[in-house]
């Protein structure tokens, strides 16, 4: 047990936790927490240069992330919800599906939808995903909102207007939803199949009557097609109501509420969103021509879940260096010692200027990367990026195991009833 005194949050003498400050600390001893408050950067540096190996004040190694924890379906009034906890950062995500009628959309044009071929090659799939992502973005079907002013940390007081951090997070979540093409527009469309409506049965009672008696109420799409075919061949009037139409869309209102914030807000928020999306059940919805409105089925067995386009998982890393000061006249020595701190907590975020965020959809060297965001300094170079892809892949596997469990055990239809 070579645990050095530096690990663990217990108040320890600064003389033992720090290796290099002034020799006088042996006589002037004060709690580690005081040291951390007074001189955060030297405090972190002392931990990382400890003689027993680099450890962070939390006791983690630089490349060790905090184990995540997911709980889904705790909010009953939402279509899907999740609580994600990473260390002391806890986020609740609630997703609610609301219906957007196309008649309420200004200059809405019915999209050209070609039927998806059985074997879709890479090129056409990419093109279809892109046009569907554009459709989602244009209609603003995904509305994420990040709420930090819940008193989640001393820096975010309750009742204050959205801080810069909250706005930036909202924007990053929204753009990642769009650019990663996580959802398909096809799953958000609500269709109207004209000939299944009662109005057409008035027009053509002799055709729809036998069909409606024999039809299975749970399976109206089949009667639709048959009724339409009969009308189309028998009479020219049927051609007027030929094509199925999109009458409405599901709009997903995604609320991300930070219960507590101790660093790494983006990773926690995004994974809460992923978990909640996996938890979402949308009821089967159809357009009723008589009521001129969308009706939803109360049957849980008819509700649908989203098939997500991969699992994009983020990993945020901070690059810490003691010599943060800028060299005058560009004379910075190249060999500044630096540490990449994975999944920083709140204290570490206060000491670090340079951050890198990588979002991957798999592991290994050929893993698909969905986003890279790097800023705040020049210590992290081109060469380190490949290492980070490896670390992000390991994190991806960790999250995937947890996220796969959401549908694995929670498949029971009784949850919603």
């Amino acid at each position: 047990m070579a645990i050095k005194p530096a690990s663990g949050p217990t108040p320890l003498g600064a003389s033992t936790s720090a290796t290099s400050p002034s020799p006088s600390t042996h006589t002037l001893s004060f709690p580690a927490q005081t040291f951390a408050k007074l001189a955060p950067i030297p405090f972190l540096h002392a931990h990382l240069t400890s003689s027993t190996g680099a450890r962070r004040p939390s006791g983690r190694t630089p490349s060790e992330s905090r184990p995540p924890n997911i709980h889904t379906g705790s909010l009953t009034h939402t279509s899907g919800s999740a609580v994600v906890r990473i260390g002391d950062t806890a986020v609740v995500c609630g997703i609610r599906g609301e219906i957007l009628l196309t008649k309420d959309v200004a200059d809405w044009k019915h999209p050209e939808i070609s039927s998806i071929p059985q074997e879709e090659n890479d090129g056409t799939r990419r093109k279809r995903r892109k046009t569907e992502a554009d459709e989602i973005a244009r209609l603003n079907l995904l509305v994420p909102n990040v709420e930090l002013s819940t008193g989640c940390s001393p820096a975010h007081l309750p009742g204050s207007p959205p801080s810069d951090l909250a706005q930036t997070l909202s924007h990053r979540v929204l753009t990642l939803l769009h650019t990663s093409q996580l959802l398909e527009a096809a799953e958000l469309r609500i269709w109207h199949h004209p000939s299944s409506s009662s109005s057409s049965s008035i027009l053509k009672p002799q055709i729809t009557e036998p069909l409606s008696t024999s039809s299975n109420p749970n399976n109206p799409t089949i009667t639709t097609v048959e009724g339409f075919e009969g009308g189309g061949t028998g009479d020219t009037d049927g051609a007027l109501v030929a094509k199925p139409q999109i009458k409405a869309y599901w709009t997903l209102h995604i609320t991300l509420l930070f219960l507590s914030l101790d660093g790494n807000p983006f990773d926690a928020a995004w994974c809460a969103l992923l978990a909640a999306l996996l938890d979402v059940r949308l009821p089967r919805a159809w357009w009723d021509a008589d009521l001129e409105n969308v009706l939803c089925s109360p049957l849980v067995s008819e509700s649908t879940r989203f098939s997500l386009n991969g699992l994009p998982v983020p990993l945020t890393v901070g690059v810490f260096s003691r010599e943060d000061e800028q060299g005058i006249g560009g004379e910075t020595e190249k060999k500044r010692a630096k540490w990449c701190l994975v999944d920083m907590d709140g204290f570490e975020e206060g000491c670090v200027r340079e951050t890198v965020c990588l979002v991957v959809k798999g592991e290994g060297d050929s893993a698909e990367i969905v986003r890279i965001e790097k800023g705040g300094g020049g210590l992290f170079g081109r060469g380190e990026m490949r290492e980070l892809v490896g670390a992000a892949g390991r994190r991806w596997r960790e999250w995937k195991a947890l996220l796969d469990g959401i549908r694995g055990d929670g498949s029971g239809d009784t949850d919603m009833g």
Binding site: T168, H178, E368, K374
Partner: protein
């Protein structure tokens, strides 16, 4: 083809306009001046960035861009030289390539990172025009990678639309990777190739000899450096002549 003007505004401490690849940005710098008591930092200057979009009012997109630009400029400005003061940078986006024909396209497929090179280049020129000491220089470039791996430097709107990934990469004059923003779908090999190209474009053959034809990619015929050279030679000839 880039074009830039130094000090177009007479009432700001320093200003610059930079236009490139359809984007045009006007930047005004005020400072160093007194910071508000609650904002001031004891050991360095506060760099405050405000971005005003070409149309509409500043929203979350502007806030996100502001945070990227602020993080970069904090590295570039010698903040320790002006402790407890404020350097205020206001960026007005004057033109975007979308604004001509498709006003609503801004939020589609890719977010607004393509405007970053113009924003940073304009603010560095304006900082120089204010005579605020800087500790480095930076050049940025945007690269779009198409479905079959074709690379487009400083892509047009059509090229961005057709691309599978979009990258904005900036290197400092010391050769450090200062900014990297990438979106879309790609892998690490693509990114490394893109960052090599970006390094070559930003600072000539600074990174390494990777067999790239520099002239093939060299579209920054008038980058920051050449603007400054012209301006300095003009001033010099004025003062001596």
């Amino acid at each position: 083809m880039a074009s830039s003007t130094l000090s177009p505004l007479s009432r700001a401490d320093g200003s610059a306009q930079y236009s490139f690849n359809g984007y045009s940005v006007l930047c005004a710098v005020n400072g160093p001046m007194e910071a508000q008591r609650r904002d001031e930092l004891p050991e360095e200057a506060v760099v405050d960035v405000a971005i005003i979009p070409a149309t509409g009012i500043a929203g979350v997109t502007s806030k996100h861009l502001e945070s990227i630009v602020q993080k970069a400029l904090r590295q570039i400005v010698l903040v320790a030289a002006h402790a407890r003061s404020l350097i205020q940078i206001t960026l007005q986006i004057i033109a975007t390539p979308e604004s001509d024909h498709q006003p609503a396209r801004l939020h589609q497929s890719f977010s607004s990172i393509a405007v970053l090179p113009a924003l940073l280049q304009a603010s560095i020129l304006a900082l120089l025009s204010t005579s605020i000491p800087l500790c480095m220089f930076t050049n940025l470039t945007s690269v779009a990678v198409g479905a079959n791996g074709d690379v487009a430097l400083d892509p047009s709107v059509e090229e961005v639309d057709a691309a599978t990934s979009l990258h904005v990469i900036g290197f400092s004059s010391q050769g450090d990777l200062l900014i990297a923003e990438s979106e879309g779908s790609f892998n690490i090999a693509t990114w490394e190739q893109v960052s090599d190209i970006a390094g070559t474009v930003c600072w000539g053959d600074l990174t390494r000899d990777n067999g790239l034809q520099v002239s093939k990619f060299w579209k920054h015929e008038l980058n920051c450096e050449s603007t400054l050279r012209t301006k300095i030679s003009q001033w010099y000839s004025k003062s001596t002549g």
